[in-house]
Structure formats: structure tokens, C-alpha cells
């Protein structure tokens, strides 16, 4: 029953979304409000139906309904309860449902929020969002149906990919998809702006918070993905420049560029075409990311022809790009703005540079990611483009961006006077250079790390200086320290929210630099009772034990870790053997610390437990990435607080 019910709901939802999209477009052209209301109802209907689909699939997972193919592939009777729920988005079909559901949810929020506002935009926004939802529902109907029936019904399922049986996989896709789908809202408003010809700043003002929220969730999703990679995959890193990761970071980079360049338009009425281009690119990249990761094309260009999903996504991507840029070209005459720049030393030009670097980084990642496909298609030779390439090209760009991060917010609009430059940058530059010199004296020889330290200290200096000055100014009007600080954060929440986000990025940058420069590794085989030393830690192998778990067989090693100070700890890295997997899965054990993590992976071992090979790492400053995520969260929260005027 479940497969048929789910399939029916999908088809009806598709019909509703398509109808809603067309009806509200007609309403946009003719101004017939009855049609708008009708497509609003369709939007609510789509949300209810997709929610129903999701619940139905969860129900199928919880009741082990193996008549649903997707359930049979992604779960078995041993899969623990929570993972049976999250198995929902464990593979392609289910993650498309999650995507569609979030899109439907965002549409619902847009309906609730803007029903009585922006009457010119609203029908077009609705039309764009429901059109996109219709596409995803079409994918759910034809190339990737989650409710496909499986006959005969097998007695047990295959089981969820063991690597996905982790808490990170509960939150990572949710955050990432909230980010991906979140960019639909600014995109839809941009389309509405183009369709109505109201290409002023209205769409930017309305969508600023939406862009920030989507950007934040994408960042959060990337960080959680890094955390998952770090503590699950057992390689001791968090970012591998894997095509899947690249696909997610692409819209984040262009989204970051967008967040900055809209400020120029708000302030100076320039870059209208560029901002529309960026929002179109960012949204298209979210679709491209799904195409890249879900079509199988990454494995080989030949995988493309095996399923139709790739063709669907590529077709949709072409449609999106064609429609958007045609609209843009159509409105070009209204978009041409008189650019006006008084000086190269101005915030405008720093922001332009910021955009060039971010888009260049995005382009590099894009080109590097698709290059293997290009090589295979053109020459028939498979090549890999991995970390060595991406690091070489991107590190200079990111360092440049760090420095701009300090300059941009404080340099004056239009024309920075020598006084402005001296006042804001002399001290921070001095402190940054001094920090690098001190670090060098302390024995840090890696020039990239030194540059990173200098940049981070410089940027922090600019932020602290600016904030202190502003607090002092408020104190002069009679506030106490606390009142002045809070008042400032509240009154200028957008500015200081941005600063806090910048600080978060700085913390992440230090984590990346530190972990790459200072982490230690060793690999060795120990007999029972023997120990190995690394970075002041002594790790002793105490033995192995085997156990039968609910859905796998597990061999656990016991290792005593002591450091010079005399504190002792026991780590239990393990190997898990799943019936559905050829190779065992390493289960890492670790102790996290602010400065360094002890990270232990169990390799080969003697069956009698007399010997074990281990990969031991002392990873430095990795925790700063997660801390940076926390700071990002605070900053984003501050930046999207409601305006004071409206709140009052």
C-alpha cells in the first residue's frame, strides 16, 4: 500500500506545484488576485503532501516495510532506531524528498510573511518557487522515485551505509539542504524583480536576511560535514576537496560574494546587473551541486548515461540559466546604472576585489572539479584533480580575502582620506606585522602560517579598534561600559553581526593553518604492552576484544594514553565489520582539546590480539574549526535580528 500511496501523493503534489507556478505567473501578468489565492492554496497543498510523503517513508523505515525499494536498500532489521529515521536522507531518492520538503516549507514561510506585502513581487516569487518545487517533484516522480515498489519483498534489507550511521549524518544534510534550498528565496525575488521590471533595491532589501540565513546554514552544513569527515572517516582531516565537498562550497563562495556586493548596491546604487548575476549563479550552483553529486557523473562521465537523473538536472539547470539570463538581458536597459567611483582607495573598490577573489576561488573549484570529466570526455584519459591542486590555487586567494576582510569594513565609502587610512589601519597593521615577527622568533618557519597569523591579527585589530572607538563614543553620551556595548550591538546589529561572523572565519582560518602546519602523524605496529610516543603522548597497546553488535561485528582495541603531566586516559579505536560492506570500517577514538586532539585509528591486527598496527595522530587546533562555527552562529544571530524600528 505504502508505495502506491506515496507515489500518488507525489504525482498530485507535482500537479499542484505546476498549476501554482503557472497560475501565479498569470496572476503576475494580469493582476488577478483570485489566481494568487488559488496558487497559495496549492502551495499549502504541496507542503502538506510532501510532508505526508516524508512521514510515509519514515513510517516505512520504522516498520521495516521492505516492499519499498528505498527502505530495503537503506535499512535492515539491525539498523538502530534513530538511523532508521535519518536513513530517510541516506541516499538519493530520500534526499530529494528532504530537499523538496524544505523548499515547500520555505514557500510556506514566504506565503505567510509576504501575502500582504510587496503585491507586485509576490505572485512572481510564488511562481518561481513553485516552478522549482515542480521540478523536484518531477524528479521524485520519474528518475528517482522514493516509493518504487520492490517485488518480491525481501525478508531483510541491505542496510544503511555504515559511514552514515553517525550523529553528524543526522544534522549535516539538514543544515546543508536548508542552505541550498534557502538560496531559492533570494533567487525567486530576483526573478520577480526582473519579471516586474522593478529592478531597484527592493528585492535586495527584502532578501538580505534570507541570503544571510541560507549562507549560514550552508556554512554550518560544511562545518558539520568536516566534523563528520574528521571523526568518522579516520583520516584525521576535515576537508579533502572531494567533488561532493566542492559542490557544496561553490554556492557558498558565490553567496559570500553576493552578501558583500549587495551592500554596494544598497549604498551606491551600483552593480545591479552583477548582483542579479550572482544570485542567479548561486542558485544555479545549488542545482549544479546536486547534479554533480547525484548523477554519478563524478565517478565517470559514462555513469551519466546510465540513469536519467543527470539529464533531468542538466536540463533544468539549462532552463534556469536560460530563463534567468534572458530576463536579465531583456531588462538590461533599465539596469544600466551610472557607475561612479571617486577613488581607488574606497570601500567600493575593496568590495569589488573581494568579489573577484571569491568568484575566482569559486571558478577554480568549479574548473578543478569538472576537469577530470573534461579530460575523460576529450581525451579519454582519467585524471584526478585533488588537494594538491586546490590548495595551491586557493590558498593565496583565501589569504588575500582575509586581508580584505580587515580593510573592507573600515575603509571609507567613495574616497578614503589619508587620515581615514591612518586612523583605521596603522595600528592593526603594526600589530599584525609584530605578531608575525614574534611568531617567527618563536620558531614558526612556515611562511603561509606566518602570513595567516599576520592577517588574522590585523583583521582582529581593525575590528577591536573600531568597536572600542564606538563604545567610547557611546560612553561619552553617558552610558556605562555594558550599556554602551549592548546598545551598540543592538543598534548596529547588522554591522557588528558581520564583524562577529568575520571573527568566526578568522578562528576557522587559524584552525586550518594550525592543523595543517603542526599536526603530527605516526604509523606503527605494537605488540601487547608495547608503546609508542608522539608529541609528548605515550600510547600503550593493552589488547583486543571482539563483540557482536546489533548490526555488525566489532573488534575493539584498548590503548592507554598518558602524557608527561601524568594524566591517563584509555582510548578504544575499533574496526567494524558490516555484512553489507566488503571492507571493515574504521572506528576512530579521540580526545579533543582546545590546542590538540589525540586521534587513534586501529589498522591491521593479529587475530590472537598479540599485535596491532595503529595510526596515531596529534592533531593541532582542529577544534578551532568547531569553535569558529559557534562564533559564526552568534554573529549570524546578531546580524539577522529584526530592525529596531520595527521591533519597537
Amino acid at each position: 500500500m505504502t508505495p502506491e500511496l506515496g507515489y500518488a501523493a507525489t504525482v498530485v503534489a507535482f500537479g499542484l506545484a505546476l498549476y501554482g507556478s503557472i497560475a501565479s505567473a498569470v496572476a503576475g501578468r494580469t493582476g488577478r488576485t483570485a489566481l494568487v489565492q488559488s496558487s497559495e492554496r496549492a502551495a499549502v497543498g504541496v507542503w502538506i503532501l510532501v510532508t505526508g510523503c516524508m512521514l510515509l517513508l519514515v513510517y516505512a523505515f520504522l516498520t521495516f516495510d521492505f516492499s519499498v525499494r528505498y527502505v530495503a536498500i537503506n535499512t535492515n532489521r539491525g539498523t538502530p532506531f534513530y538511523y532508521r529515521i535519518t536513513a530517510l536522507w541516506g541516499a538519493l531518492e530520500g534526499s530529494i524528498i528532504l530537499w523538496t520538503w524544505m523548499l515547500a516549507l520555505y514557500t510556506l514561510i514566504v506565503v505567510v510573511q509576504y501575502r500582504r506585502r510587496h503585491p507586485e513581487f509576490y505572485p512572481w516569487v510564488l511562481s518561481a518557487m513553485m516552478g522549482i518545487a515542480a521540478f523536484f517533484l518531477l524528479v521524485m516522480t520519474i528518475p528517482a522515485p522514493p516509493f518504487e515498489r520492490l517485488t518480491p519483498v525481501p525478508p531483510d534489507g541491505r542496510g544503511l551505509n555504515p559511514l552514515l550511521q553517525d550523529s553528524g549524518m543526522i544534522t549535516h544534510p539538514v543544515a546543508l539542504y536548508l542552505g541550498f534550498t534557502g538560496f531559492t528565496v533570494p533567487f525567486a525575488f530576483a526573478i520577480a524583480a526582473l519579471a516586474t521590471g522593478r529592478i531597484g533595491d527592493e528585492w535586495i532589501t527584502i532578501t538580505r536576511r534570507w541570503t544571510v540565513i541560507a549562507w549560514y546554514f550552508l556554512a554550518l552544513g560544511l562545518l558539520i560535514g568536516g566534523w563528520w569527515s574528521y571523526h568518522v572517516l579516520g583520516w584525521g582531516g576535515y576537508w579533502a576537496w572531494d567533488p561532493v565537498e566542492n559542490a557544496a562550497v561553490l554556492p557558498w563562495l558565490t553567496g559570500t560574494a553576493l552578501l558583500h556586493s549587495v551592500m554596494i548596491q544598497e549604498r551606491r546604487r551600483m552593480l545591479k546587473i552583477w548582483n542579479l548575476t550572482l544570485v542567479i549563479l548561486t542558485f544555479s550552483l545549488t542545482i549544479f551541486g546536486t547534479f554533480l553529486t547525484r548523477s554519478g557523473i563524478i565517478g565517470s562521465v559514462h555513469a551519466f548515461s546510465q540513469g536519467s537523473i543527470g539529464a533531468f538536472f542538466l536540463g533544468f539547470l539549462a532552463l534556469v540559466l536560460l530563463t534567468s539570463f534572458s530576463l536579465l538581458a531583456w531588462r538590461m536597459d533599465r539596469l544600466k546604472a551610472q557607475g561612479e567611483l571617486d577613488s581607488i582607495f574606497s570601500r567600493e573598490s575593496v568590495f569589488l576585489l573581494n568579489n573577484v577573489f571569491l568568484v575566482a576561488a569559486a571558478f577554480t573549484v568549479f574548473f578543478g572539479t569538472i576537469f577530470p570529466l573534461l579530460s575523460e570526455a576529450v581525451r579519454g584519459v582519467k585524471v584526478s584533480v585533488g588537494a594538491p591542486f586546490f590548495n595551491l590555487v586557493n590558498i593565496p586567494l583565501f589569504l588575500g580575502l582575509l586581508i580584505l576582510m580587515g580593510v573592507g569594513p573600515l575603509i571609507a565609502w567613495r574616497r578614503a582620506s589619508a587620515d581615514n587610512l591612518r586612523r583605521n589601519f596603522l595600528m592593526p597593521t603594526a600589530v599584525g606585522v609584530a605578531a608575525a615577527v614574534i611568531a617567527r622568533a618563536l620558531g614558526i618557519a612556515n611562511s603561509l602560517v606566518l602570513l595567516c597569523i599576520a592577517a588574522v591579527v590585523f583583521v582582529t585589530g581593525t575590528i577591536v579598534l573600531d568597536f572600542l572607538r564606538a563604545v567610547r563614543a557611546r560612553r561619552r553620551s553617558g552610558d556605562g561600559w555594558a550599556a554602551a556595548t549592548l546598545g551598540l550591538l543592538r543598534r548596529q546589529n547588522r554591522r557588528y553581526g558581520g564583524f562577529v561572523v568575520h571573527l568566526g572565519i578568522l578562528v576557522v582560518a587559524l584552525g586550518v593553518a594550525g592543523s595543517n602546519a603542526w599536526s603530527l602523524h605516526t604509523e606503527t605496529t605494537l605488540g601487547r604492552g608495547e608503546s609508542v610516543e608522539l608529541g609528548g603522548y605515550r600510547v600503550r597497546f593493552d589488547g583486543l576484544r571482539a563483540s557482536e553488535e546489533s548490526n555488525h561485528f566489532k573488534v575493539t582495541g584498548t590503548f592507554t594514553v598518558s602524557n608527561g603531566v601524568g594524566s591517563r586516559d584509555v582510548l578504544y579505536p575499533a574496526k567494524k565489520y558490516y555484512a553489507q560492506e566488503q571492507n571493515p570500517i574504521a572506528y576512530v577514538d579521540y580526545r579533543l582539546g582546545l590546542i590538540e586532539d589525540v586521534y587513534l585509528v586501529l589498522g591491521d591486527f593479529a587475530r590472537d590480539g598479540s599485535q596491532a598496527t595503529i595510526k596515531l595522530q596529534v592533531n593541532r587546533m582542529v577544534s578551532w574549526l568547531w569553535l569558529g562555527g559557534l562564533v559564526l552562529t552568534l554573529g549570524t544571530g546578531l546580524a539577522i535580528l529584526p530592525d529596531r524600528k520595527k521591533a519597537a
Binding site: V356, T364, F367, S375, V381, V383, G386, F389, V393, L410
Partner: protein
């Protein structure tokens, strides 16, 4: 993440290689060199991890091969060439900077260069034009204009 057939084939090839390797006398090999070579090679059964990073048994065996070949007196280039011969260019985590593959190394920089040129061009064009005065608004004298700019800049700064 099931392994595509190619990686499985690669793994099988690896076993053959392992069997064919002569038993080599253990000579001290610099582990940093092993790691360095490992970071440039792809672990054949992994998603996208280097031989140096991957915790998989296959990567472990590949590291052993690197160690043994170095011990036998091969240079890092020879070791890498050996893997390329066995698995194709695909085994290298970044393609060699020659021929068609040169593209991937050059195009990003060309893109960045074009972007910078575009910005420089835009900046020049915008700077050259005289500051436009919106039509319909009475002319404003230079002093007033400057004062407004100054005060706006002050507002920005606070």
C-alpha cells in the same frame, strides 16, 4: 559509498603487484618522504583520500610499496612513475603540468587575471566620468556636496 568497478579492479591489480614484489631487505627509509609521496597519490579504494591520509588497508599496503621501493633505492619520481604505470594518471592527485593537463593549472589564473582586468577597467571607467548630477535636482555647489560626502563618510564610520 560502494566502490565503483574500477577501484575494485585497481585493488585486484594491487594484490598482483604485492605478490610480484621481491622480498626486500629493510633499509631505513625516511617516513617523511613516504608521506610526501603518499599525499600525491590517490588511495585506490577510497572516495578521494590520499595514500598518506587514508586509514584503509589498501592505502596501508600502498604505503608499504612506497617504503619498499624507496628502500630499494628508487627516487620519489620513480616510485610515482611506477604507480602511474600501474594505474594510469588517475592515481596522481593532481595531474602533471604538461599537455592537455596544463589547462587545469592555467585556466584558473587566466580567470583571476581576467577578473582583475575587468575590475580595473570598470574602476577606470567609473572614475573617469564626471560625477553625474541627477536630472531635475537643482545644481549643488561643490562645497555643499563635499560636506555631504564627508558627513556620510562619518556616519559610515560610526
Amino acid at each position: 559509498m560502494s566502490h565503483p568497478p574500477l577501484t575494485r579492479l585497481a585493488a585486484a591489480a594491487l594484490l598482483v603487484v604485492m605478490a610480484a614484489l621481491p622480498a626486500l631487505a629493510a633499509a631505513p627509509v625516511n617516513e617523511d618522504t613516504v608521506r610526501e609521496i603518499g599525499t600525491e597519490l590517490r588511495c585506490v579504494v577510497c572516495q578521494n583520500l590520499s595514500v598518506a591520509d587514508s586509514p584503509s588497508e589498501t592505502a596501508n599496503q600502498m604505503r608499504a610499496i612506497i617504503r619498499e621501493r624507496l628502500a630499494a633505492g628508487e627516487t620519489p619520481e620513480q616510485v610515482k612513475a611506477y604507480f602511474v604505470e600501474k594505474y594510469g594518471l588517475w592515481i596522481l592527485l593532481s595531474p602533471p603540468k604538461q599537455g592537455f593537463n596544463l589547462l587545469v593549472w592555467i585556466v584558473p589564473f587566466v580567470g583571476l587575471g581576467l577578473g582583475l582586468v575587468l575590475v580595473a577597467f570598470t574602476v577606470r571607467r567609473w572614475s573617469r566620468r564626471p560625477a553625474a548630477v541627477p536630472a531635475g535636482i537643482p545644481e549643488m555647489d561643490a562645497a555643499t556636496r563635499d560636506r555631504i560626502h564627508r558627513e556620510m563618510a562619518d556616519i559610515d564610520r560610526s
